[in-house]
Amino acid sequence: MRTSPELRAKARPAGDCVWEIAPSEKAGMRVPARIYASEALFGQMDDGVFEQVTNVACLPGIVRAALCMPDGHWGYGFPIGGVAAFDAEDGVISPGGIGFDINCGMRLIRTGLSEGEVRPRITELIDALFEAVPSGVGAKGFVRLTEESFRRIMVQGAGWCVAHGYGWPEDLERMEGQGCLPGADPTHVSARAVSRGMEQLGTLGSGNHYLEIQVVREGGIHDPVAARALGVEAPGQVFVMLHCGSRGFGHQIGTDYLRIFDQAMPRYGIRVNDRELACAPFRSPEGQAYFGAMTAAANSAFANRQVITHRVREVFSRIFGRDARTLGLDMIYDVCHNTAKLERHRVDGREMELVVHRKGATRAFGPGAPDVPSAYRTIGQPVIIGGSMETGSALLVGTAHAMEETWGSTAHGAGRTMSRAQAKKLVRGDTLIRDMAARGIVVRAASKSGVAEEAGFAYKDLSAVVDVLHRLDLSRRVATLSPIGNIKG
């Protein structure tokens, strides 16, 4: 995909790697739209990004600007990589600014193991993880829940898991919001959402979701001080990365409320340029109900990643014949992608309560900010940016500048440049799996065609995305992690 010259001409350079579309470019824009990208990444953005980020700029109560991160690409409603803050008093909340996979997010776990110890057993390890962590269409989790206990998960998030033996107490310290966002209200969750998601706790899903074994290579540690604080000690060290979300439970809440908002908008006199941007005033009954249900889904996503973490520890412990603690399987961090959160930020010199939407974008709070774990308080909140299964991922930290510029937000991944159908035309899943094995990356997948769709060439160059973030000081590069084993849904 490439940007058309007409749309490109509307976005003016507004500094190094910053492009701005003035409110005069589209009727109804209340604030400018701002895209963070190098010249090369900007040129790779499809026209949908421009349409969507300017549509976001039209929403009631938006503060300062509609933002798009360098991994931005076409979504629905908001672009993926979209960030927008709305005044909590007179602004809106929009499911299209969050996505159907509520609190889809990343989790990174360190190990005390070296590649030399893991490599000889990587196939055995990946096979065991594939068995232990259900993935793909129709996957069912291993945790049997009553409806009552599922409702507790909605309110307690990862805390419920730790209390029930699926994790360590210190895990909670190393999660965005301690693995439990305030404001969850199960009374606004439909019975349909409960029945759709209740049996899926501990499942990976499909699409771009994965569980990956990674290693930090020689030259892969860019900031030794921050790396050490995060538990990244030396080249050859092995890590486990998870990317998954709230599964059918969150998807159903998105479906339910998109439908409700679509019908409710006329009551509030709100018109939007794209039906996927359906929204309601944050303080309205519909807005508050969605916020309560959406937060319940966000908490279930923390629980999902926590239960998977428990399984990962069990598998490592079994394969290597040692307790997970002695193997050093400590949480580095868990960070959300698809949320709207009530946060306080400074706007024109005064503090405001904002509903910050991050869709395919990561929170990146800087050093000293609230909710950054004490162990990381001096370096900033860890930021985990997932790349493609072939090329690796990145670990960064948030910055003070991101707090000023982007409501403490940064990119979330490499961002697609090619459709799934195109990718499947270029490579077969089984061929790619064989090629990757020859390059030392063992892949197990529930769907072979799904593997082809996730080929590295379908994504932007992750290092180019990270370079922009680092140059703009929206987050600071710490380490690069390379895959040696991957489980795909």
Binding site: M1, D46, G48, H73, W74, G75, Y76, G77, I80, G99, F100, D101, G136, V137, G138, K140, R192, S195, R196, G197, Q200, G205, S206, G207, N208, R247, G248, H251, Q252, G254, T255, L258, R259, D262, Q263, D274, R275, E276, A278, R416, T417, M418, S419, R420, A421, Q422, A446, S447, S449, G450, E453, G489
Partner: protein, 142 residues
């Protein structure tokens, strides 16, 4: 039955499909088939389940949205996929759908899996009458 084709340039990370049918019921049946093909290879699914579905909606396009949302819901709740359906539609707003959906339960041993749809989206969501019948454009979030 009508026909469908997946569109390559409409959705980058998701899946867009154009569905045509001679009338709304035919289109709804075809859309169900397209959705099932997205999820699994229907040839690897034992057709053992028959399920009655009734849905009401104020507009015809929302009836389609709710029908496909119901099929996605059944995939997650019961792990069942329905490549075939017999649909009747009544009313002129509100509309009512009565369907007999035929399909099977996903069997990890034998069913070839495809994508795992999250939701039908309203992005570029269109249901319209054409000179030859009815056409819909759907973007499925996967």
């Amino acid at each position: 039955m009508g026909h469908y084709r997946f569109l390559e340039e409409v959705a980058l990370a998701d899946c867009a499909v154009e569905v045509e049918g001679r009338d709304p019921a035919d289109l709804f049946e075809t859309a169900a088939s397209a959705l099932a093909c997205l999820m699994v290879d229907p040839a690897t699914l034992s057709i053992t389940v028959e399920r009655a579905v009734t849905i009401e909606a104020p507009q015809l396009d929302l009836l389609l949205y709710d029908w496909l949302s119901e099929l996605i819901y059944l995939k997650d709740r019961d792990r069942q996929v329905f490549p075939a359906a017999q649909v009747t539609i009544a009313g002129k707003g509100p509309f009512r759908l009565d369907a007999i959906a035929r399909g099977g339960t996903i069997d990890a041993e034998h069913t070839t899996l495809g994508a795992d749809p999250k939701a039908v989206t309203f992005h570029q969501f269109v249901l319209e009458q054409t000179a030859d019948g009815w056409r819909a454009r759907l973007v499925i979030d996967i």
